[in-house]
């Protein structure tokens, strides 16, 4: 790791802390940059060195490339880890760092550019013989786009070419208002990504989302770390991920993972990347996109392979060769990640805010919590509603499910509404247990997944609320004992 002297962590929340932990254990100095609203955040407390950044909004501060370059100059950091989100997949950022002679811990700017655009990525992958779904690309011939979309076949998924995170995506089930939906999609693309170009592809009914973790070094070595199943999504965003996927046979697993490494090799990928696939109930899979960064859900892969992917990223960025081969990377046991979000699942996942009055994380065999919050912290709308991630390992899937449920029940987060009980409900669902899910599962089962309180639970809750209500208890205590006893006796 000679080449990397000091790493600036250009991110916040749980991922900043997770990266810092690897740096600390590896003995590499790390700098945590932060906006003042994150002043009391765990990563800022744990860091030996911090750097305050400013911006018009907190998000803008983290997105400001100049801030990061200045932080590197001031602190002497010669490498930057971007985490995920923010500037992690920003080619100009990667370029700016290269020009400033700072190591970007991620792939080259060219690869980010190529794979960051869904349209060019897809063309590239298709041209090299990897499977892609029937599709239409608007900019091939804008005039005939609506017509070509209709030919892809319904249902069809229309999405911004520059998009991500499910934003601006729409499914159209027939041709009746196709033109209108295309127009809406364009407006949303412009609003969210300042880019109205669209892309349409066959919508696979009840598809699964399966992705493969790949790695490449600067010496032409490429490996995969097996797959992750990420079909449990609400509003097109993953909230439960697991590995291995319960859908794949060993042959299918081999096939999809081999395709992913092939794509990584074709683009000359360096560092950690993820190739996402749509997996049809019939067993076919199609390239969806490539994420040129560390994923939120990377810990499940760490749990079953034993590798520290952030450490491996550092090694590759320092120019070292992978010191293992594909055969060394074994998948042992099962792992599930749950994203703990400040939101009300029973109110259409409305984001929740407030002060975290009490936080108590689950502990025990196979349990890992990657958290970005601590007791006393305010949860605001300034950032994403994800507070932390619960990652659980067990020898087999069934044991992993029950361990995860117990951990969710043991996770105390008071003061802000979170989705822990909702996640527990999902894990209790017979279709989840049998592995029979798809990306529309949560929407389809919304009614079944609602919370309910038994009479018995209600009695306990009301009792707890009454007995911890100081004002109420004081008022009651003022009744003289004797008088109260008489009243009681008279009954």
């Amino acid at each position: 790791m000679q080449k990397i002297k000091k790493v600036l962590i250009a991110n916040r929340g749980e991922i900043a802390l997770r990266i810092l932990r690897t740096l600390k254990a590896a003995g590499i100095p790390g700098v945590v940059m932060y906006h003042r609203v994150d002043r009391g955040a765990p990563a800022v407390r744990e860091a030996e060195e911090t750097y305050l950044i400013e911006g018009e909004t907190p998000v803008a501060a983290y997105l400001d490339i100049e801030n990061i370059l200045a932080a590197c100059r001031t602190t002497g950091a010669n490498a930057v880890h971007p985490g995920y989100g923010f500037l992690a997949e920003n080619a100009p950022f990667a370029k700016a760092l290269a020009e400033a002679d700072v190591i970007f811990i991620g792939p080259t700017a060219d690869v980010i550019e190529l794979m960051g655009d869904k349209v060019s990525a897809r063309k590239f992958v298709e041209a090299r013989g990897f499977p892609v779904a029937p599709s239409a690309i608007e900019e091939d011939d804008p005039a005939t786009f609506v017509e070509r979309v209709a030919k892809v076949g319904f249902p069809v998924l229309i999405k911004p070419a520059a998009g991500g995170g499910g934003k601006g995506m729409r499914v159209v089930y027939d041709g009746a208002n196709l033109a209108e939906e295309v127009e809406r999609g364009r407006r949303e693309g412009e609003r969210y990504f300042a880019d109205g170009r669209l892309f349409a592809e066959r919508f696979i009914e009840n598809p699964r989302h399966i992705e493969v973790q790949v790695f490449g070094d600067q010496h032409g070595n490429y490996v995969h770390f097996w797959e992750r199943e990420c079909s449990i999504q609400r509003r097109f965003q993953k909230i439960i991920e697991e590995t291995p996927s319960p859908a794949l046979s060993p042959e299918q697993r081999q096939e999809i993972c081999t395709a992913a490494v092939g794509i990584a090799e074709a683009v000359g990928y360096q560092g950690a990347g993820t190739v996402e696939f749509i997996y049809a109930p019939t067993g076919e899979f199609y390239f969806l996109e490539m994420n040129t960064r560390l994923q939120v859900e990377h810990p499940v892969t760490e749990m079953v392979t034993g590798y520290d992917l952030v450490y491996e990223q550092l090694r590759v960025a320092a120019g070292e060769a992978l010191n293992y081969t594909q055969a060394d990377i074994t998948q042992t046991g099962h792992s599930i990640e749950c994203r703990i979000c400040a939101e009300d699942a029973d109110a259409d996942f409305a984001p929740a805010i407030g002060k975290l009055l009490k936080v108590r994380e689950p502990v025990g065999p196979g349990i890992r919590v990657d958290s970005g919050v601590i007791e006393g912290q305010d949860v605001t709308t300034a950032f994403d509603p994800m507070l932390s991630k619960l990652i659980v390992y067990a020898r087999d899937r069934q044991q992993c499910i029950t361990r995860t449920q117990q951990a969710l029940r043991d996770y105390v987060l008071l003061g802000v509404t979170t989705n822990t009980a909702y996640l527990d409900k999902i894990l209790s669902h017979s279709d989840f247990i049998s592995g029979d899910v798809h990306t529309g599962f949560l929407a389809e089962q919304a009614d079944v997944l609602k919370q309910n309180l038994s009479q018995d639970t209600l009695d306990f809750l009301l009792s707890a609320a009454a007995l911890t209500d100081e004002q109420l208890c004081n008022a009651v205590a003022e009744i003289p004992e004797l008088y109260a006893a008489m009243g009681h006796w008279r009954n």
């Binding site: 009490k358 029940r409 509404t417 527990d424 306990f460 009792s463 609320a465 009454a466 209500d469």
Partner: protein, 167 residues
Amino acid sequence: MKREFVIGSESYDVLLNKALGEYHLDVGDRQLAIQAEEIGSGEYFIYVDGRKQRAFVAVDDENTYIHMEGKAVTIQRIDPFEKIMGGDGADGSGSSLLAPMPGTVISVNCEPGQQVSEGDVLMVIESMKLETTVAAPREGIVEQVNFSAGDTFDQKALLVSLQAEEE
């Protein structure tokens, strides 16, 4: 001593008594023998008719947050006396539309003096990357529109109000 506890959309009136050092809670027509034992900071054993549950409890000005049986529940505390005295003014009267959380105005779809029907979209707002429509809760005439497109607002900000209904 009475309290009204609100969980989600349900409201529960309870009455707490203490006699011979023991607490009793009246819930509807049932009386529960209850007891709390603090076993740590904000950590309790709660006893109801002799059965036990462990609970974590946190309290702020308005709510009691309880983690019990593996899930967290928020209970709003209402003092029936205060309720009678204070009324519910700006809130819940169906005349004032308050922001559920801080956010940004995407578009304003009405103007003061305009006649609107129940369900009409008055405003579109965005909070935490989610778009929400602010719809008229009843038929009426728009009184105030306090923000323009692009404005940001705080939680509980008065976004739009309707003229009070004639009684």
